[in-house]
Subunit: 98 residues, 2 copies
Amino acid sequence: MPDYDHPASDDLTLLGVLRGLADPIRLEIVQHLGKVPEASCAALLGDRPRSSMSHHFQVLRDSGLLHTRIQGVQHFNSLRKEDLDRRFPGLMDAVLAE
Amino acid sequence: MPDYDHPASDDLTLLGVLRGLADPIRLEIVQHLGKVPEASCAALLGDRPRSSMSHHFQVLRDSGLLHTRIQGVQHFNSLRKEDLDRRFPGLMDAVLAE
């Protein structure tokens, strides 16, 4: 399976990031990832249907919030905190403080 | 005309505020209001249709981002920066820095 595309940090937009965050499931994933170095999709799925979740992961990747690393058949997700902090200082700290 | 309802600052939610911000027109209004004490609806409308804008103003009020003060036939809008700063420290500074 090929790697996912991730936008370059210079291409992130505030509006895109805010849209990525503006959903209860995606916000929960982001806040979960704020507490761990990375998490498998399975760990983040909980008991939610996989079909709807793959859309949320895609939105999170496209907005620059999340990086997905593929290792074998497992997908490991991490928050792009450094990139986000550089582009939008203070934003993620405010979001993760909740 | 009666005053608008505005949610109490303790009732604001991070998700609600993020949803309020996650639209290009609403984000522009918020960033405009970050630079001025208040602005009339007319000043914020630009050349956009009034009909679609009243929805955006309502979303901004409901999410706790915006306060509308009625004076005669004019509506004056301001950012609820103090309330937002108290509830979500650093969030609005990050949004307004863009």
